[in-house]
């Protein structure tokens, strides 16, 4: 059976020089992961260039484009409130980029979001934006985030500790949730698809097993499409929630 982890192997497509930043070697070659990201971003731009029309009665493409935009718009509005509009481009870019990378993995051989480097960078990007927005909006009062109001004095140190830890693991949970879902789904798909081939070579009885495995693959593929959308959605929701924490720090 083919190695189910092989699909996550990074391979270089275009060799580019390695640069050293602060003693860290950074290989700028275009790998399959970078190519997938480039393609996803390009597809987002192409899709929205085609979907962003002024038609009063929208066509199919425009309807889908406006539906996705409306989805994120509604999220930002309902979670962050009136100020959500300011963060809409950021949240939408995250959502669309993650969604297109996830969906691309359903059609092509490589899923960029199944790379921990990618999902962790996205998670850090979100949390650093949250910290930046928090400081820009509240100044030093940002640290009130870790000391919720209405907590009795004697328990406050413990609460502050818990709040700090929970804040620090946010990028990790963001990254691992996306990473784990994408890796898990694709590995399971690969394994079941491997069963089809392996069992198919075992004669009549094997064919029955292969048919079962094949139907599982079909069902799992449908499930994975849902997961691909859902994980992008969850990423956007949590980004909004974290942003809301620092935008409305007073009511925290």
């Amino acid at each position: 059976m083919a190695d189910p982890m092989h699909q996550f192997q990074i391979s270089k497509i275009v060799e580019l020089p390695t640069v050293n930043v602060l003693g860290l070697p950074i290989d700028l070659s275009i790998t399959n992961s970078v190519a997938a990201m480039l393609l996803a971003a390009t597809l987002v731009v192409v899709f929205y260039a085609a979907a962003a029309r002024k038609a009063v009665v929208p066509g199919r493409l425009q309807t889908v484009g406006e539906m996705l935009y409306g989805l994120v718009d509604g999220l930002a509005e309902s979670i962050i409130g009136h100020e959500g509009k300011k963060f809409l481009p950021f949240v939408f870019t995250l959502f669309a980029f993650v969604l297109f990378m996830n969906l691309q993995g359903m059609f092509l051989v490589f899923t960029a979001t199944s790379q921990l480097a990618v999902s962790l960078t996205l998670g850090l990007l979100v949390i650093l934006t949250v910290v930046a927005v928090g400081f820009a909006k509240n100044g030093i009062k940002f640290f009130k985030l870790f000391a919720p109001s209405g907590v009795p004095g004697w328990i406050l140190p413990l609460v502050v500790l818990i709040e700090i830890v929970s804040f620090l693991v946010r990028p990790l949970t963001l990254a691992l949730r996306l990473f784990g879902n994408m890796v898990g789904g694709h590995v399971v798909l690969k394994i079941f698809a491997g069963f089809v081939v392996a069992l198919g070579g075992l004669g009549i009885l094997g064919w029955a097993g292969a048919a079962l495995a094949l139907s599982s693959v079909v069902a799992l593929t449908a499930l994975e499409f849902m997961v691909a959308f859902l994980q992008a959605f969850v990423f956007a929701v949590l980004t909004c929630v974290y942003l809301n924490d620092v935008v409305h720090l007073d009511s925290h």
């Binding site: 092989h6 971003a41 987002v44 962003a52 029309r53 002024k54 935009y69």
Partner: protein
């Protein structure tokens, strides 16, 4: 956190590139992915926030405004139509009242004319009747006056026959009076 991960590059890079473990944990590939991702994200964010998303929201807002405007127009037209319908109904009612009045007038005029003509006819008839009665009266009077003459003559003849002598006219007249 990112630098922390890069910090482990040196330690995990050493044992074999492809063999064992998750391919995602081959840290020699992290730097390039992170840099490219940030670059791509920055470009995508700029293109979307400056160019494409305003167009999408513009189209949505425009549609909302157009629908609201169309509904307002429709409401205004409906109100106008209602006013016109009310005016038309009032006009119809007025016309009907006028028509009824005209009809009543015509009827009254016709009735008046008819009664006047009838009165005139009756007057003519009454006149004729009176004339006829007068002429009958005259004829009767005349006949009655003839009766006296006949009676005188008859009386004279009877007297002459009986007495053999003619009575004078004066005697006859006084005898018959």
């Amino acid at each position: 956190m990112a630098t922390e991960n890069h910090g482990t590059v040196a330690t995990t890079e050493a044992p074999g590139h492809e063999g064992g473990g998750l391919p995602q944990l081959q840290f020699q590939h992290w730097g390039g992915q992170v840099v490219w991702l940030l670059l791509i994200f920055a470009v995508l964010y700029t293109v979307l926030s400056k160019g494409l998303l305003p167009r999408v929201s513009g189209a949505i807002d425009e549609r909302g405004a157009k629908i609201a405007g169309d509904i307002a127009d429709a409401r205004r037209l409906k109100d106008e139509a209602e006013v016109q319908a009310r005016a038309a109904a009032a006009e119809v009612a007025e016309a009907r009242a006028k028509a009824q009045k005209t009809a009543a007038d015509a009827k009254a005029k016709a009735a008046a004319e008819a009664s006047e003509r009838q009165a005139k006819e009756e007057a003519v008839l009454a006149e004729k009747l009176a004339a006829a009665e007068a002429s009958i009266q005259a004829a009767r009077d005349e006949a009655m006056s003839h009766v006296r003459t006949v009676a005188e003559e008859t009386a004279g003849a009877i007297v002459e026959k009986l007495t053999g002598k003619a009575a004078s006219a004066v005697e006859l007249k006084t005898a018959l009076a």
